[in-house]
Symmetry: none
Subunit: 224 residues, 2 copies
DNA sequence: AATATCTATGACGAATTTGTGAATTACACT
DNA sequence: AGTGTAATTCACAAATTCGTCATAGATATT
């Protein structure tokens, strides 16, 4: 998965650096803006910003103003940096559609925890679909689509294919497959995997060849 | 629209009364519990609780424990009442899936604002009429129409069909269906779902096929 | 090239799951 | 209590899946 982009807006460079450091260390991609105008410019010119962290207190165009403008066009989650315990701020913020608050001063852990909570709440909802090489696996619907054509799989077939796709490019021994797709208490014939692979390949048509046989070992899913 | 039910859990009756008053004044229906066990009993016996407000500090079964137990079966939004500025609490809470915090002491406005923010975030699907593929479900009137022809359903049938439609395209296990359409304390035969599905399908005529069987898993509502 | 080992495939049947009609129970309203 | 409706359970039929096996084919090793 790609890194998520977070736009950090604060007029104090010291504060920006602080926030950025924590986030970068947690594998986010951070873009900085040092005032409101710049923030809006960057936001509307940059695609795929997953979250905006806004300081309220900024000269000329303050955090509220930035928030309002963004909200006219976007539902991107917004976290506000606020002075400790200012209730009026929080109330205004909820009306403007702010997702979360962080009071200064804050600890790195709180920062990261709230960022992740917000992202989980917003983006996390439908991360249930895996797509690769024209193959789409919708875990929620338990549905395979190949080039947007729905293809019915049995329960086991779906589980097996999901396991293959999640481990894209990794060679999997039969034992490993049994332990992960079957219950641990299954002690039957490992050859049953072959049979399921056969069915998968035939149901998947042209794309069936993505399930590769590794002689003497097992199988590997790989898109050319 | 009906009043939303909020479960308030706190061992101090003074605090419960305080919270209740604010919420009642804002047109919520408040249920009280004075300890963790009672909270869990009430929660799992009462249908349609839209939000739980939990005090962390309670004797015997504390707020965390209650939160954990609820989260095993339900995604109901949870707000925690916490002592001011306790970071460790917040961090633990995010892991447990807490939606929001309110530090004591708090003002009525903050309380109501956060409650509404959380409900707005989660309760999103609250339309009166759901329409999809020629099927129209009027929640208020408890009436199904198929191609504008009214069709009478029993209470359970309507609830079940609503649950299917709201989760359009999502595979639902029998267990999940039981937990959401039946009360949490129903421990009867899951096959009763089959019977209701049968009746639904037959009453829905041609559109009955939208309720699909997922062999070895459960059911899925999906319009082709 | 011969041999041994591993994999692919089609067919079959046991086991499991689901569909369905009928019987039973629960429950509200007279 | 009696009636009628809805909800649940039950029993059996129908459908589907899963694993095994036998055989054919493929790959590596000598």
């Amino acid at each position: 998965m790609e890194k998520l982009k977070i736009l950090v807006v604060d007029d104090e460079s010291r504060m920006r650096k602080l926030v950025k450091d924590f986030l970068v260390r947690n594998n986010y991609d951070v873009i900085e803006a040092e005032n409101g105008e710049q923030a809006l410019d960057i936001f509307f010119e940059t695609k795929g910003i997953a979250l905006v962290i806004l300081d309220i207190m900024m000269p000329r165009v303050d955090g509220w103003q930035v928030c309002r403008e963004i909200r006219q066009y976007s539902d991107v989650p917004i976290i506000m940096l606020t002075a400790k315990g200012d209730e009026k701020d929080e109330l205004l913020g909820f009306e403007l559609g702010v997702d979360e608050y962080i009071s200064k001063p804050f600890s790195p852990k709180i920062l990261v925890a709230r960022v992740e909570a917000v992202l989980r709440r917003t983006a996390g909802i439908d991360e249930e679909v895996i797509e690769i090489g024209g193959i789409s696996l919708d875990k929620a619907a338990h549905q395979l689509k190949i080039d947007d054509v729905p293809i019915d799989l049995s329960y086991k077939e779906f589980e097996l294919l999901t396991y293959f796709v999640v481990n894209n490019g990794v060679a999997l021994s039969r034992e490993k497959i049994l332990n992960n797709v079957w219950n641990y208490d299954y002690f039957g014939d490992a050859r049953t995997i072959d049979t399921h692979v056969k069915k998968l390949r035939s149901k998947m048509g042209e794309k069936g060849k993505y399930i590769k046989t590794i002689w003497g070992l097992g199988y590997k899913f790989e898109v050319d």
